[in-house]
Amino acid sequence: MSQATTKTQRRVSWFEATARQRLAALLDPGSFTEFLGPAAREISPHLALFSLPAQFDDGIVIGKAKLRGHEVFAAAQEGRFMGGAFGEVHGAKLVGLLRAAKAASRDAVLLLDTGGVRLQEANAGELAISEIIRAIVDLRTGGHSVIGLIGGRAGCFGGGGIIAGCCTRLIVSEPGRISVSGPEVIETNRGVEEFDSQDRALVWRTMGGKHRYLTGGADCFVDDDTAAFRAAAIENLAGRTPLTVSVLEAEQARLKARLRRFGTAKDGSEVWQALGVTNPASVPGMDTEEFLNAVRAVRESADDAR
């Protein structure tokens, strides 16, 4: 790529991009080798029972590639297919990739874009999430990093959120929502007084990328731009340390401190106020640069206690 084209390159939205477009923009050009690609036609054996169409990659693209010359294993969920949800084949592809990364001594990058478990194959999906968590911990205790990238249209919900919490580092953009119970799930179970899922601003203030970055739920906040995700992934892969008991002790202290400090807050804006953000009400409207400048000094950093 020449200097001239780099300069005139247009911003490409991570949110709007497909899983394959994200991988192409994230990884070194031409370096991606897909495993069990669409030609293998490994489709879900369960969707037909529900008269639902299958997809040849079951909504996840996995393989190996280079990230600024560094060999990595990568997986990207396709949020447009079944909401990026974990089914049997989808989940097993990621389990296999993480086990293969361990065998090959490689770091992994996970482009998470998921509503959680695919209900049509719920038990298989739930179990796959547990196997993924185990494989991530295995990889990390062996000294390898697992970097999560979150900014897709399906967000990162349900068991996907728990997987995110097991990554070494998390990179988010503003549309990247991370939670276990999604807005609709809370509203359905607890009523609209507890959570109005139609209130988009409330959703962002409770589980959006800015809130997660402010409270240490994510490590890096970037523009909704594939180039920004690439730069952040390169930066966050470097120099990580293994997952140990001391890391978990530090995480325990960090999460306890969060509950102590913000546990009585009713709304994200109250948390931001308590953090010392000068004008919390203006946070949702800030662009990335303004936001980072306004919060850098006061945000809670996870400091690798994850």
Binding site: H46, E88, G159, G165, T206, L255
Partner: protein, 239 residues
């Protein structure tokens, strides 16, 4: 089986297991011979941020001790606590923290065994029972991802139709038998037999690695998972 009945069968001599706000903490001597740490969720409680961190703390203090006693996780829960407060605090990190603590404990040489004797669902299930090396269950246990009426609502299928489909495949419907077939449950214990002896027997057989997908293939509840993961590993090696 109630929590108290379970404890008296597991720990015939004595134990110091307590239940506090639906959370289980303590220890005992399993079958009068094997000291174990105990954590868990009781009384069909939801697991939220405060509960997850309290359980994780207990696991970490077990790991910091010198003895590598097994950790027994007794589970009768509901799902994760679904609330604005829990999500505002970052419930995903708290549940992940608990799961990581259990997995690191296993990596440090503790046997981690869960005994599911009641309900469990969704995120609470992932962070407790499913994060142990071995999951045992008692008949009558009811693990689920989501109940059938809720699945009906989300998938927009009539409940009667779903019930019909549930009888034909173990892959989506709630229940112990369905989860056992997918490989989640290593063994269902015999409640009429000596429970402590059965748990001790399971403790003596640590799995070498995560065998749940292979088990699911053998039992027919997850026909493809093990094969897919193996294929990926093979392609990765040759690519």
């Amino acid at each position: 089986m109630t929590h108290d009945e379970l404890l008296s069968k597991l720990f015939p001599a004595s134990h110091n297991v307590i239940v506090q706000d639906g959370l289980v903490f303590g220890g005992g001597t399993l079958g009068g011979s094997q000291p174990v740490h105990v954590i868990g969720v009781a009384e069909r409680s939801f697991l939220g941020v405060e509960g997850a961190i309290a359980l994780a703390k207990h696991v970490l203090s077990a790991v910091k001790g010198t003895a590598r006693h097994p950790i027994l996780v007794l589970v009768d829960s509901r799902s994760q606590h679904m609330s604005r407060h829990d999500e505002l605090m970052g419930l995903n990190e708290f549940l992940a923290h608990l799961a990581k603590c259990l997995l690191l404990a296993a990596a440090q040489g503790h046997r981690t065994v869960a005994l599911l004797y009641g309900g469990s669902a969704a995120g609470a299930f992932i962070a407790t029972a499913l994060a142990c090396d071995t999951l045992l269950a008692l008949p009558g246990a009811n693990p689920e991802v989501m109940d059938l009426p809720s699945i009906a609502r989300v998938t927009k299928l009539p409940l009667e139709k779903l019930q019909e489909m549930a009888a034909a495949t173990p892959v989506f419907a709630p229940g112990l038998e369905n989860f056992a077939q997918t490989g989640a449950v290593a063994q269902t214990l015999d409640p009429a037999g000596d429970l402590a002896a059965q748990v001790l027997e399971a403790l003596s057989r640590p799995p070498a690695s995560d065998e749940r997908d292979r088990l699911g293939a053998e039992r027919g509840g997850r026909p493809r998972a093990a094969e897919i993961a193996t294929k990926v590993c093979r392609e990765a090696k040759t690519a």
